[in-house]
Structures are given as structure tokens and as C-alpha cells.
């Protein structure tokens, strides 16, 4: 082999090496971790779907979908410690405990990881921003509207909630009561609690039906309660007389919509939520946006989110499901 040839090969090899390292550097994707309350929950599997959709649209983004086995803060801390160890670029979390996760998330941020919370938020010190699925006023308004849409002549409605101490449900019910002034012909006769247990919710719904023979609608702002109430209405052959509505999962409610026990119901769309959380994480991690009060951050097809003084943003109105679209979403979550 001549010296010239040797030099040429060396050069070629060097170039090849250089290009390959360059491609590797370029190909290292941005890693966004989506940490959920626990794995194996349909709602969060749909969030994952939305996150993957956003990743595909952005390109060169890898989603790490993870979470503990049980909905505990301790379990999420273990998961976050391993994500910090992997130096992921961003963490988007739906928290099991708004306070207990603060120290470990602070540590993540101090190591240069972008941290946002979505759905169930983290206290202000533990995240750059929080993305709410919807807002309490918007949910309250939607709840009463869902019932009112199908009772033009007004009448009696009752609420079947989760537990008496459930913070979210209590805030939504309070907001809904505030909005009832717009519907003077509708009367709220009772609020009962099924504790998010199917059997107890079912019995409470039956109790409502027996106690208030003129009841026109049951509003259940909980996925467990709404399904149980719809079942109770069907079992008591009151379909068409008592309309069950509130917040529910399409997969659990599709049958009840078909039977007519529920004319419509609402929920934030978890696919949109996962999509929006991923888009925001990407924009913050690439410094295209900064999480600060008043900031407007892009969420791709979901538009933009505006942050309030606590860096909390609201994604959208709850999404209404009815006979026309429930089947499509039932396949997803």
C-alpha cells in the first residue's frame, strides 16, 4: 500500500468517524418523561397516546412513560430519582401528593431538568408550571349545562359525588351551584357521596331515585359515580326519565349512552392533555418559551396556554361526549 493510498484511507476513515459521531450527536433525541400517578390506569394510557402523538409531530423526541405501581408519593419519588440519574431533558408529572414531591423535583430542576406538572399539580416550588385539564369555573358551568340541555322545562336534579372530603369534587360542585342562578327552573334537591366505590355509588343512586320520584337528572362529577348511577337507572327501568350526566370515561359510558341512560357527559380529553403537556415540556426544555406569570406557551394543535401569577395554565373546557362521538373515544380510554 502506497503512502498516498494509506493517507487516503486514513482520511476516509477519519471523515467517516467524524460524520458518524456527528450523526450520533444529532440523533440523540430529547427525552421527555411522562410520570403518572400509577401505571395501568386507562386515563393515563390515553395521556401517553397524546404524548406520543406530540413526540411524533415534533420529531427526535423520545417519550419515557412511567409511574409507580400504587398511587403513592414514595413510589413516584423512586421513579423521579431514576429519571434524574438518567439525565432526562424534561419531566411532566401528574402528582400523587402536591407537597411530598417538592424536594425531589427541586433536585431535578437544580440538575437542569425541565419540570412541569399536569392534571394533579405540584406545589409552586416543585415545578416550573402546572397545566390544569380545565378550570373549576369551566367545569362547574359544564356540569349544570349538561343537565340543563336535556331538561327544557326545568325540574329536580341531584348530585352524586365522590367522598365528602374530595377537594376537586367539592370545588366543582360549589362552582356549579354558583352557576345555577342562570337556570332558575332547575332545583338541586340533594348531594350524596358514593366515595368513588362502585357498590356504594350504586346504592346512593338508587336511594336518590326512590327518595325523589320527580328527579330529572343525576349529576355525578366522578367517573366511578356516573357509571354506577347510569347502571342504577337502567336496572330500575327509568331510562329516559332520569338522565345521568357528569364526568365520565367514554369506555365505561359508551353502553349507557347507547341505552339512553346518559344523553351526554364530559371529561377533559386525556389525549389532548398528554399532547399539550409534551408540547409545553418541549418548548420549555428547548428554551423556546419561559414559564413565568403572563407567559403564553404554545401547545401545538391545542393553541396556547396563558400562565397566571402562580404559573398555572388551563388547557381547555371539558370535552362533551354524546352518541355521535362516544364510540370513537371509547376505544381509546
Amino acid at each position: 500500500m502506497s503512502i498516498f493510498k494509506k493517507a487516503l484511507t486514513t482520511a476516509a476513515v477519519a471523515t467517516a468517524l467524524a460524520t458518524s459521531t456527528a450523526t450520533i450527536a444529532q440523533a440523540a433525541p430529547m427525552r421527555i418523561a411522562v410520570v403518572v400517578k400509577a401505571l395501568g390506569i386507562g386515563f393515563f394510557d390515553a395521556v401517553h397516546k397524546g404524548a406520543e402523538e406530540a413526540a411524533q409531530k415534533l420529531g427526535n423526541v423520545k417519550i419515557i412513560y412511567t409511574g409507580p405501581t400504587n398511587t403513592t408519593a414514595e413510589g413516584q419519588i423512586q421513579v423521579i430519582n431514576s429519571l434524574i440519574a438518567q439525565h432526562v431533558d424534561a419531566i411532566a408529572i401528574s402528582a400523587n401528593d402536591q407537597d411530598a414531591l417538592v424536594p425531589v423535583l427541586k433536585k431535578a430542576m437544580s440538575r437542569g431538568i425541565t419540570v412541569i406538572s399536569f392534571d394533579s399539580g405540584v406545589a409552586k416550588a416543585g415545578r416550573e408550571m402546572q397545566l390544569d385539564d380545565s378550570s373549576t369555573p369551566l367545569i362547574g358551568k359544564t356540569l349544570i349545562k349538561l343537565a340543563a340541555d336535556h331538561m327544557p322545562n326545568g325540574g329536580e336534579v341531584a348530585v352524586l359525588s365522590a367522598s365528602a372530603t374530595a377537594t376537586n369534587q367539592n370545588a366543582w360542585i360549589a362552582a356549579m351551584k354558583g352557576d345555577m342562578k342562570d337556570y332558575p327552573k332547575i332545583k338541586l334537591v340533594s348531594v350524596v357521596y358514593g366515595d368513588d366505590l362502585s357498590d356504594k355509588s350504586y346504592r346512593e343512586a338508587q336511594g336518590l331515585i326512590k327518595k325523589y320520584p320527580d328527579l330529572k337528572a343525576i349529576i355525578a362529577p366522578t367517573t366511578v359515580g356516573i357509571a354506577a348511577a347510569a347502571q342504577a337507572v337502567e336496572d330500575d327501568h327509568l331510562t329516559g326519565k332520569v338522565n345521568v350526566t357528569g364526568l365520565g370515561l367514554p369506555s365505561q359510558m359508551a353502553g349507557h349512552v347507547k341505552s339512553g341512560a346518559s344523553k351526554s357527559f364530559a371529561l377533559w380529553n386525556p389525549i389532548d392533555l398528554g399532547y399539550a403537556a409534551t408540547m409545553i415540556s418541549y418548548n420549555l426544555a428547548t428554551h423556546k418559551a419561559k414559564a413565568e406569570p403572563g407567559a403564553k406557551i404554545g401547545m401545538g394543535r391545542m393553541g396556547t396556554v396563558t400562565l397566571d401569577k402562580n404559573n398555572i395554565g388551563v388547557m381547555s373546557d371539558p370535552f362533551t361526549f354524546n352518541a355521535s362521538n362516544v364510540d370513537k373515544y371509547a376505544k381509546m380510554f
Binding site: T69, A73, I77, A85, A100
Partner: protein, 329 residues
């Protein structure tokens, strides 16, 4: 041996005994997992990451030491996680009222001791089975913290309080890790180098025989319950400090993780045998598995399955071994 009356207390020679011991097998498993993790993830062999990983087992381990002695003595305490919840809740209440750090720690320890004492009285004075008593107090202690806290959380801990769960003694050695090692030595010495430890084995093997040999069985058991309560109180201080907050659901399900750690460490669930070094190794194995799988983003349920299989293997292998051996010889 010229002395005709000499009764050997060890039948095998030390090396042979070591090689056949449960602890040696566990150590091999730990090394294997360590090597596998190093090969599987580029992030594993980093002192800070390994330091973070120790939090997976330090608090559980602190409780596992006295629990191991308790199980060796033929008793069990399932109320440890609820003791953490109650201790943490009362610390939180005191912190909200403005108590200084030393008082908070004292409250944690005293509440732990008190919970242990209550179990001890019910088991040793009333002669109730410990599994029943502590299933009861498991609901009782956590129930109390639910009554006190409801849906709220205590978050007003003083800044310096974070040291116990987030601070470092030097370099990557966290306060919790140093405490874990210290307690391993203390409990190792207590179990294997004192007459108290011998009494614990005697009680576990034959409580009636122990009683007739002049061992104050009830007193030894009471001390073990107190120690378990105290260590749960210490774990409560560490965990509360690490989380920087208290909710009644704190440490939910930890009692079973502690028992898993103890049994994985080779302690006979029926009492009578087991060692503290075994429990230390089991803590390491559980911590390494959890962290290694976490680095690979393996879902938590797979980890649970792995730990479950490990546990069944641990219990089944020695029995299979002893069953097969007579036929072989």
C-alpha cells in the same frame, strides 16, 4: 478436642459454613445484580446516582433490623407503617405550632416508642397473638392520623429539618445511609454478640423451654416491640424530612415491604433463625433491583413480580434442598 465434655456450637468448619450460608447466596445475588445493572445502564456507576438509590432501602432497612429480631422471636409487627404515619402527623402538628427541630425529633421517637409499647402490652400482658394485635393497631394508628389530618397536609417544617432525609454527612454519604450502617452494626451486635440476642433465638425456637430456662420471655418480647416502635419513629423522622410534608397516607404499604426485606434476608417467618447481615444484604438487593429496573424504565409492576419471585425462591429453595438431599445420600 481433648475435653470430652466439649459440645461444638458449630458443626461445619467456618469457611464451609459461610459458603453454604444464606447470606453468601444473597451476597452473590447482590453482586450479580450490581454487575448486570452496570452493564445494562450507562447511568448506574455514578456515585451520586448510587447515593440517590440508597434512599430506596434506608428507611425500610431501619425498621427491618428490629423487625428481624421480632420475627426471630416468633412475633411480628404489622403496625410499623401506621406508626410512621402517626409519628409524622404529630410531628407535623408540632411543627405547625412552631416547635423547634429537636422537639420534632423527640416527638417522632416518643410516638414510635409509645406505639411499640401499646403493642407490647397487648401481646405480652393480655397474651394476644401479635399478628392480630398489630393488624388492629395498623388500622388504629393510621386511623388516628386520618382523623387529625383528614384531607389536609402538614408542610410547615423548619428549614433545618430537611437534613435528616436530604442532608449528607460527607460527600455522597447521606445522613440516612450513615444511620443505616450505624444501626446495622448496633443491631448486628445486639443480635449476635449479646446474651439478649441468644435469648431471642431461644424464645423463637422454643418459648416454653426458654421460659423454663429462666428467660423472661415477656420482657424480651416487650423490649423488641419497643425497639421496633422506636425505629419506626426514627424512620418517620427521616421520611418526613425527605418528603418535607405529612399526609395520612405516608408510608402506605411499607409494613409488607419491611417483612419482605426481612424474609428475603433469610429470617424464618416462623421464628428461630435469621441474621442481621442477611437483612442488610436483602436491603441492598431490593434497593439495587428497584433502582436498576428504574434506570431502564421497567414498569413498577415488573419489579414487584421480580421481588415476589425472588421471595418465593428464597423460601422454596432451602426446603427443596433439604427435601432432595436425603434421597441423594
Amino acid at each position: 478436642m481433648s475435653d470430652a465434655r466439649h459440645i461444638p456450637d458449630r458443626l461445619d468448619r467456618p469457611l464451609r459454613r459461610l459458603l453454604r450460608s444464606w447470606e453468601f447466596l444473597l451476597a452473590l445475588v447482590a453482586v450479580a445484580i450490581f454487575i448486570a445493572n452496570s452493564l445494562a445502564s450507562p447511568y448506574f456507576l455514578n456515585p451520586w446516582n448510587l447515593s440517590d438509590a440508597t434512599y430506596n432501602f434506608t428507611e425500610l432497612g431501619l425498621i427491618a433490623f428490629p423487625m428481624a429480631m421480632l420475627i426471630v422471636a416468633g412475633e411480628i409487627d404489622l403496625s410499623v407503617a401506621s406508626t410512621i404515619a402517626l409519628a409524622s402527623t404529630l410531628m407535623g402538628a408540632a411543627a405547625t405550632a412552631g416547635a423547634p427541630i429537636a422537639v420534632l425529633v423527640l416527638i417522632g421517637l416518643v410516638v414510635g416508642l409509645f406505639c411499640g409499647a401499646f403493642n407490647a402490652v397487648l401481646v405480652t400482658r393480655l397474651g394476644l397473638p401479635s399478628i392480630v394485635v398489630t393488624i388492629g393497631t395498623m388500622s388504629l394508628y393510621r386511623g388516628l392520623s386520618y382523623i387529625i389530618l383528614g384531607n389536609q397536609a402538614y408542610t410547615a417544617y423548619p428549614t433545618g429539618f430537611a437534613y435528616f432525609g436530604q442532608g449528607y454527612v460527607f460527600w455522597v454519604f447521606s445522613f440516612e445511609l450513615v444511620l443505616f450502617v450505624l444501626m446495622a452494626v448496633v443491631f448486628g451486635a445486639l443480635q449476635h454478640r449479646t446474651s439478649f440476642g441468644r435469648m431471642v433465638y431461644a424464645i423463637g425456637n422454643n418459648p416454653t423451654g426458654a421460659l423454663f430456662s429462666g428467660i423472661r420471655v415477656a420482657r424480651v418480647k416487650a423490649i423488641l416491640f419497643l425497639l421496633t416502635g422506636l425505629m419506626s419513629g426514627i424512620a418517620a423522622v427521616c421520611l418526613t424530612s425527605r418528603l418535607g410534608s405529612t399526609r395520612p397516607s405516608i408510608a402506605l404499604g411499607w409494613e409488607l415491604q419491611v417483612v419482605t426485606m426481612v424474609v428475603l434476608g433469610g429470617v424464618d417467618i416462623l421464628g428461630g433463625s435469621g441474621t442481621i447481615p442477611g437483612v442488610v444484604l436483602a436491603a441492598l438487593v431490593m434497593g439495587l433491583v428497584t433502582f436498576g429496573f428504574g434506570l431502564l424504565n421497567v414498569p413498577g409492576i415488573v419489579m414487584s413480580i421480580f421481588i415476589g419471585l425472588l421471595l418465593i425462591g428464597v423460601i422454596a429453595l432451602p426446603r427443596l434442598w433439604s427435601r432432595l438431599k436425603p434421597r441423594g445420600t
